[in-house]
Amino acid sequence: MLTNVDSAAFAVFLALFILVTGMGFVASRWRKPETLAHLDEWGLGGRKFGTWITWFLVGGDFYTAYTVIAVPALVYAVGAYGFFALPYTIIVYPFVFAVMPVLWKVAKERGYVTAGDVVRGAYGSRGLELAVAATGVLATMPYIALQLIGMEVAIKALGLHGEVPLVLAFLVLALYTYSSGLRAPALIAFVKDIMIYIVVIAAIAIVPSKLGGYGAIFTAADAAFAAKGAGGILLSPAQIVPYASLALGSALAAFMYPHTLTGIFASSGGNTIRKNAMMLPAYTLLLGLLALLGYMGHAAGLKLASNNDVVPELFKTLFPSWFAGFAFAAIAIGALVPAAVMSIGAANLFTRNFWKVWVDPKVTPAGEAKVAKITSMLVKVGALLAILLMPTQFALDLQLLGGLWILQTLPALVFGLYLNWFSSPALLAGWAVGLAGGSWLAWSDGLKPLHSIDFGAGKVAIYTGLLALALNIVVAVVVNLALKRMPQQRLSREAA
């Protein structure tokens, strides 16, 4: 288990890991509430997180460890196309600015904790509530598994082998999330985000000087793609619509997830969210520069067994071992924050929109907190088992479908904030058709996120999630129109 471990790197890694573990447990006493045995406290940190805490929490939660590994890996593999994460994480913020303060206000006034609560409040439909909640849980599970993959890559880069370190790290995470709730990831996010900032700033400042500057890095990447005969530092004509539609679809889906919504609901107010929509793009700048590590991998002439190794290998090759250890710790700790918030978001959904509705309607606030704590534990164990027992590709495929699924909850969650026109059967029909149709398209395309449509003038590939959303909205509108006509016809017949 301990072959090829660099002692300096390992010492730095271990020290930081112990630090955040301590913080995770101490967090239960941070901004101490009267009781943690209430979902508003355990699951939303008291809805009192101000601008800075929200910035660190949402930033730590949305830009995940897997992102740090996978975006540069995709850029390394395919080039410009992998950069769709950049427009995606820019246009998401005007959307957050416009929509999320409205959602927060509704949630605060009526005591809602989840998207399912909001939908039930708006439409009074148990069916739609269950649909939205179940979609949230299903889409989140593979996302947690992805964080484990990110952590696995960091632990492996450190030279540790076998599954024991991963299992230990995750059990520790499960324990402090159980005891401290959302306060734990919120507090750890400070450390995680500062570490990631240090790592990325060091990389973008120091690596180019070792590789001959940014111009040389782009030239090297260009040459590598030309030699490979695939990919490139610009998009091919066929990649243009996929690029734009993936960016748009991902941006619309991003804040429908339980973990991002939890960060929104936990904030102290509309202006906190608006200020964050202004300040969170700092992380996007970081992500854009981080993506360039993929090209730096080409410039450094790395030989990789797997694309996911590009970031760790770059740090091992170009930095002293203690700093590589720091970088790997940043990635591993970076997995803890989103994994914790995701499991809390999923647990909140299960408790409020399944347990309380279908199992125990008379559950007390303390009982709710208890159910959520246990659920958060089970969700994490489930994700861990999925990673240990099933092929990695399974989690990646499910995560892809998860993005498509969660996007189908947008009409139910968002339209009701502005319009009083849709009825719950129409939205439920749209959700079902979007979800089933989208999954079927993705399945028939070999679980690729793009679907080709023939417009007569040649085929154009579009992000399947966006197609499914369009189908969803069309069905919802048509069913709603049909439902509105029916009673009128009956009335006019009775009048005649």
Partner: protein
């Protein structure tokens, strides 16, 4: 009306053929890269302008 400024990043980033080019370079970055990176501070700025006009709303 100021809120319409929030649509600019969508327009600027969805017109992919406009920026899918190499020249002009800036600090060694092809246009494709620095154009998109430039939208990050620009979006923050636009959001700030809108924020100033709506922050008293609630």
């Amino acid at each position: 009306m100021v809120r319409l400024l929030l649509l600019l990043p969508f327009i600027g980033l969805m017109i992919v053929p406009f920026y899918n080019i190499r020249e002009p370079h800036l600090f060694g970055f092809p246009f494709f890269y620095w154009y998109q990176l430039a939208w990050v501070p620009l979006t923050s700025l636009l959001t700030y302008i809108v924020y100033r006009s709506v922050r008293r709303a609630d």
